[in-house]
């Protein structure tokens, strides 16, 4: 099945794909030995140091780490927005060099086109891939219903709240039916209540889209609530410290935040992060 291809007019976001032979044996995303070096005024800065990880099809992975650990850089590189880099990135078996329509991205800021209505923002992607206005609008209307913004289909972004704008941004990223959805702290700019609602919405949405999701955040709670697997990154240089499988039952919601199994996992995460923090502190002290 082609990325962005739609078999029938009615949007069936719930996996129209049957796994092909290649899908079964190869992960959706393969990152091997990824290193990224930035030139700064103070010389070269190793932002990301030999990071390797795979993401199987349909998995929801969260990357957590302190600000400046290079987690967003890793995500941008998978998106094809960051060059040059060392190492290899394969998405659906193909090396990444530039943005691809089968990879969708949601940024920390919604970055909606301010001159377009909600519907036309979401229809933008399908239009760019050669769909007729009618087809693109049909896709947009289905997604508008899914993210619960039917009343706002013809509204312009500047009239929407931050949470609603971000829902439009998610719908827009899904309009091209991406195989991989990258999310860069998409709820980071929202207030705590809206963020919890958005997390629950995303968990619900995830049951309908079967895209592989890589979600970057600095919030450990958010990572554990959402993810199948959490990658913990350290700062300076960015490295993967530990991977944790989140074996909490689904469907989940923010309600699990107080369950013992959840708290045990969170303790594991915090131990790793605290140990790394101490190590980094001692190192800087000695240096």
């Amino acid at each position: 099945m082609q990325p962005g291809h739609r078999s029938n007019a009615k949007l069936s976001l719930a996996i129209p794909q049957t796994a092909t032979a290649t899908e079964r044996c190869q992960p959706a995303i393969q990152v091997s030995n990824l290193s990224i070096v930035f030139d700064t005024h103070h010389g070269q800065l190793i932002a990301v140091d030999r990071v390797s990880f795979d993401v199987p099809h349909g998995e929801f992975v969260c990357i957590v780490g302190p600000s400046g650990c290079g987690k967003s850089t890793v995500l941008n590189t998978i998106a094809g927005l960051e060059e040059p880099f060392e190492g290899e990135i394969l998405v659906e078996g193909l090396p990444v060099h530039r943005p691809r329509p089968d990879v969708g991205m949601v940024f920390q800021q919604p970055h909606l086109f301010p001159w377009k209505s909600v519907r036309r923002n979401i229809a933008h992607g399908p239009r760019m891939l050669g769909k007729s206005a009618q087809q693109a609008n049909a896709i947009a209307d289905d997604l508008i219903a899914i993210v619960g913004l039917k009343r706002f289909a013809d509204a312009f972004p500047n009239t929407l709240s931050g949470g609603m704008q971000q829902r439009v941004a998610i719908a827009r990223a899904l309009a091209n039916q991406p195989r991989v959805l990258l999310m860069d702290e998409p709820f980071g700019a929202l207030d705590a209540q809206t963020r919890a609602v958005m997390q629950d919405n995303l968990l619900e949405l995830r049951n309908r889209i079967k895209a592989t999701i890589v979600f970057v955040t600095h919030d450990i709670d958010e990572a554990i609530v959402l993810a199948d697997r959490v990658l913990i990154m350290s700062a300076g240089p960015g490295r993967i410290l530990r991977q944790l499988n989140v074996e909490l039952p689904r469907p989940r919601s923010n309600a699990i935040l107080l369950e013992p199994a959840y708290l045990a996992l969170k303790k594991d995460c915090l131990d790793v992060i605290r140990a790394e923090g101490l190590r980094a502190f001692r190192q800087s002290d000695e240096a």
Binding site: A79, L81, R98, P99, R100, P101, V103, G104, M105, F107, Q109, H111, L112, F113, P114, W115, H124, G125, M128, L129, F156, P157, N158, A169, R172, A173, A175, N176
Partner: protein
Amino acid sequence: MALDEALTADQGDGRVRARRDAGRLQRLNILIGALSVPAFVLLWELVARSGIVNIVLFPPPSVVAVAIFEWMRSGQFFLDLTASLYRVTTGFTVGAALGIFLGIMTGQFPVVSSLLSPLFHILRPIPPIAFVPIVILWFGLSETGKLFLVVWGVFFTVWLSTHIGVQKVDRGLIRAALMLGTPRRQMLQEIIMLGALPYIVVGLRTAVSISFYTLVAAELAGTFAGIVYRIEIAQQNLQTGQVMGGLAALGLISFAADRMFAAFAERTVWWR
């Protein structure tokens, strides 16, 4: 009145009084605003007729009004107006189109910018009026010369604001568009153009008044019809009323043009 005050006191609510006072103040301000121009005209009439000033050099508004009326009745006003408006609109259109096109080119393509920007930055600070002598040498008193001056004045303002606007387009929008598979052509025509539009529109509005400045220079340089030309002829004939009438007409036209453009701008960049 007493009852009124008693009521206010009874309610003991200072806010009601405050609101009433604010309303009174606002009405007073509107009244004063409406009286501003008539009061000024009346003062002018009185001073001009009082004998303190030379009535030939400083005619009262009634004389100016008669001059304007004569100007209109003779049909000359309409000819002057069309001549001037034609120069401003064609000059503005050509200069703005050139400015937007080259602004997008230099803003988007570093090679084009390296080639043209240094040249434009050297030419831009020279006041367009300073080009009048050479324009007369090149084009004589022809319409091409007039057009050249207006285009010259408009172009640099629009070019610079477009150039800056293109460079200030939100990178986030561009990245989002890239992730959605927006091809290069669409990126330039839609995302960059509309992203830069708020800046372009500000440049265009500034250019509206600049086109009137340059019109003055162009018509003073010598021509056969036009509002400013009429002012100059009237000055040579010591028709001071006509001179002032011309000034008033010029002020009104350029005011109307600015207002119309502001309304147009608000519609074009409604999302701002």
